[in-house]
């Protein structure tokens, strides 16, 4: 039977069919739906870990003990998990271990577009790159096999367009979930220098065997076409190439680390001109050049952003491979440009008032990763920086210690899920080193941006079971924070007062701004109405950046279909023109 599945759903299906016993990960676009789909199969145990490093360690443990394991994360998550990854290449596995790295070329929902294929080469592990959902499913099975056969972790590297595109997948029957025998073996699993050195040599041998396998791996194949133009490609770029150059010869690489050197040489010798089409970095290209083969790659195709068949076609026209199209007149000339529509915090979002307040108080605000990063965009403009998960706390401490002029005027904001992911150690550092920072935990009781996943403070697991709920106040106190306050972020007067007090107080403090995400808990509150007699068109309410509020002809209006009655605009309006809503409902 065939089904239309996204790449992520197909990977979950693959884990189910190919005997995975345990799966772990941390939510991150575009990887999140893998575990969400997998959690529906009762046969497979799956969990959200507080961060990617823990998730991978859970997977390494399961694999060492003999079970097949799948670990999922977005590209930047692999940075967090890199420490165990590099040494897991030395130890190898017992049961198969597949790490899914979901890269985001074009940065649809990410802070950078790093090319994680380099991780596979750097860590010396095997890497598979699917080009559609069928391959994504199949490569889970192949990855587990390779992992066990060559005693090595395998990276399944996908990109947004593989993860979030749906294509047809042939469903198979689930195989047995076998657990291999575990035998204590310190020379393999206890990486002290003496044993590490042995495994370092063994890793080189394992990679050499893998290279030999790569030459005949079924996922590295040639689509025979004209000898005039040859293209080497992998992942989603393969689809663009097939679409644009249906007659060219194509070497499609599915196992991209280590590369099949002989196959590449042979293919190169059969075509007149050779191109490498790959998104992001010249990963294949550089290695092919090192073989002494002449190719055209990044001098033609961009190293930034996402590809499409439109772009690939344009580039092959530029190179003279395809005939130029007659320049047609632009039929749309004269139409107005569409103003941008950036994402925005939802109506009723509990974060809105916090950023409004921070901006009013003219504080320097280090930010973090989540929906609330949107609070840095105009007109809220309540954040100065966003670097990576957990960075806000360390950065505010750095500012505090180094720049006297900003001391006592800096605040870190971080979400509940992000705080548990990697904020705890930052806060510990601030306390330990006598810092002065004020940290605001935006506690909306969920991992909102990625689609509302549970975490250790929500009281539920990925499987929907009840779980112990970490008490953030007690956690902060246990780290040594003397001042911890909980406020309702919809109570703007109180919020402002608490922020002012804590920023002025010496020593570290934590403010927990607690209110569930507006999409998680729909409150039944009346929409706000505006009294046009009282509204003087001052536009103060617009600074809240609520999509329900507009001002036309110097009068404010609230869209009753969008307004959820959070009452913030009523609180900021100086003329009393706004009525209704209810913060405390």
């Amino acid at each position: 039977m065939k089904e239309l599945l996204s790449g992520n759903a197909a990977i979950a299906r693959g884990a189910y069919e190919y005997g995975v016993t345990l799966a772990a990960g941390y939510p991150g676009t575009p990887s999140t739906e893998i575990l969400e789909n997998l959690s529906r199969y009762d046969e497979v145990y799956s969990e959200w870990a507080p961060n990617e490093k823990v998730a991978l360690e859970v997977g390494i443990g399961a694999a060492m003990a003999g079970a097949r394991a799948l670990v999922t994360m977005k590209h930047v998550g692999v940075n967090v998990a890199a420490d165990p990854l590099f040494t897991a290449a030395y130890t190898g596995v017992n049961g198969g271990l597949v790490l899914v790295s979901a890269d985001d070329p074009g940065m649809h929902s990410s802070q950078n577009e790093q090319d994680n294929r380099y991780y596979a080469r750097f860590a010396k592990i095997a890497m598979l790159e699917p080009a559609d959902s069928q391959e994504a499913k199949d490569m889970v099975g192949l990855g587990l096999e390779i992992s066990e056969k060559f005693d090595i972790p395998v990276m399944l590297r996908i990109t947004t367009r593989v993860a979030h595109s749906q294509s047809m997948v042939e469903l198979g029957e689930p195989g047995a979930r076998e657990i291999k025998q575990y035998a204590k073996d310190v020379k393999k699993n206890l990486m002290v220098p003496a044993f590490g050195r042995l495994r370092r040599v063994s890793l080189a041998e394992r990679l050499a065997k893998l290279t030999a396998y790569s030459e005949s791996a079924p996922v590295n194949f040639i689509v025979k076409g004209s000898a005039k133009t040859g293209v080497i490609t992998s992942g989603i770029s393969y689809q663009f190439v097939r679409e644009v150059l249906p007659d060219a010869s194509v070497l499609k690489l599915g196992l991209t680390n280590p590369l099949p050197v002989e196959l590449i040489k042979q293919f190169a010798s059969c075509v007149e001109s050779l191109y490498v089409v790959e998104e992001l970095e010249p990963f294949l290209e550089e290695q092919i050049r090192m073989l002494g083969i002449k190719v055209t790659g990044k001098e033609l195709f961009p190293a930034t952003g996402e590809f499409s068949q439109g772009l690939v076609r344009r580039k092959f026209i530029e190179a003279g491979v395809l005939p130029a199209r007659p320049a047609a007149e632009n039929p749309l000339a004269g139409l107005p440009a569409a103003p941008p529509r950036p994402p925005v915090l939802c109506p009723g979002c509990p974060h809105r008032g916090v950023f409004y307040t921070l901006r009013r108080l003219k504080l320097t605000v280090t930010g973090d990763i989540g929906c609330y990063t949107l609070g840095g965009l105009p007109p809220l403009e309540g954040i100065d920086s966003c670097v990576c998960m957990g960075a806000s706390i360390g950065m505010s401490h750095g500012i505090d210690k180094a720049v006297p002029g900003l001391r006592g005027k800096t605040v870190a904001v971080i979400g509940d899920s992000t705080f548990l992911h990697s904020g705890i150690t930052g806060l510990l550092n601030t306390v330990y080193n006598g810092g002065d920072s004020t940290v605001i935990i935006l506690d909306n009781r969920t991992t909102a941006m990625t689609g509302h996943q549970d975490h250790p403070a929500t009281g539920r697991t990925l499987k929907g079971k009840e779980a112990p709920e970490v008490d953030l106040t007690m956690l902060c106190k246990a780290l040594g924070v003397p001042r911890v306050e909980v406020v309702d972020p919809l109570d703007m007067a109180k919020l402002k007062e608490v922020v002012q007090t804590e920023v002025a107080a010496s020593g570290p403090s934590v403010i927990i701004a607690r209110r569930p995400c507006a999409l998680l808990k729909r409150e039944n509150r009346p929409a706000v109405t505006v009294d046009p007699e009282k509204c003087n068109g001052c536009k103060t309410c617009l600074r809240l950046s609520c999509p329900a509020i507009s001002v036309t002809d110097k009068k404010s209006a609230v869209d009753p279909n969008l307004c959820v009655g959070c009452n913030l605009c009523v609180q900021v309006c100086k003329t009393g023109a706004m009525k209704g809503g209810n913060a405390c409902a």
Binding site: H108, S109, S308, P340, V344
Partner: protein
């Protein structure tokens, strides 16, 4: 030989393009099409501009539609129709929901919502169908079925029988909403341009 069709569904995060693409994909599969659908998740879904791309053919390679390639653009909102219009192929059809949703730069007074979008698009494109999907769906009993009204209008443009659409709809929406959705589909299917 099935005629390849590329449909671009554009709108604002939260407007329900995903359900529409599901029904289209199911209907297309029922008549033997190979189907690829591409969506955007994550940050853009928070009220940003969103696009769902659906490609049908004997064999589809790329899941994406490039500029000048879409046979039909199904726009859930006026400004989004304008934004994505360059993706339409010459001779393609545009179906526009009459609704306007102001983006934040417009709300904040930093940009203007272009006036007369529909007339201007009609001035450039021959095959434009405009409908008030929101009002029609409310008439059918549920404002949330606006996406199915639009789907009904789309069905008229594609080489798939009405019955197949109905079956795909029944297989996709929850049974308790089927009646409303059937009515919404009919409203869209029979609608004439405003």
């Amino acid at each position: 030989m099935l005629k390849p069709v590329d449909v671009l569904m554009v709108g604002v995060g939260g407007q329900g393009t995903i359900l529409a693409s599901k029904v289209l994909a199911a209907a297309a599969r029922a008549v033997g099409y190979d189907v690829k659908v591409s969506e955007i998740h994550g940050m853009a879904q928070r009220g940003g501009s969103v696009v769902t791309q659906v490609r049908l053919g004997e064999k589809v390679h790329s899941p994406l539609i490039s500029e000048g390639e879409a046979d039909v653009i199904l726009a859930f909102e006026q400004l989004e129709a304008l934004r994505w219009l360059s993706y339409l192929k010459p001779g393609g059809a545009v179906i526009i929901n009459d609704q306007q949703i102001y983006p934040v730069p417009v709300l904040a007074g930093e940009a203007e919502y272009p006036a007369g979008i529909i007339e201007q698009i009609k001035g450039k494109i021959n095959n434009v169908l405009v409908l008030d999907a929101l009002r029609q769906s409310i008439r059918c009993g549920n404002a949330k079925a606006a996406n199915v009204v639009l789907l009904g209008a789309l069905a008229r443009e594609l080489p798939i029988e009405e019955e197949i659409w109905r079956e795909a709809l029944a297989a996709t929406v929850p049974p308790k909403f089927l009646e409303v959705n059937n009515a919404a589909f009919t409203a869209g299917y029979n609608s004439r341009s405003l």
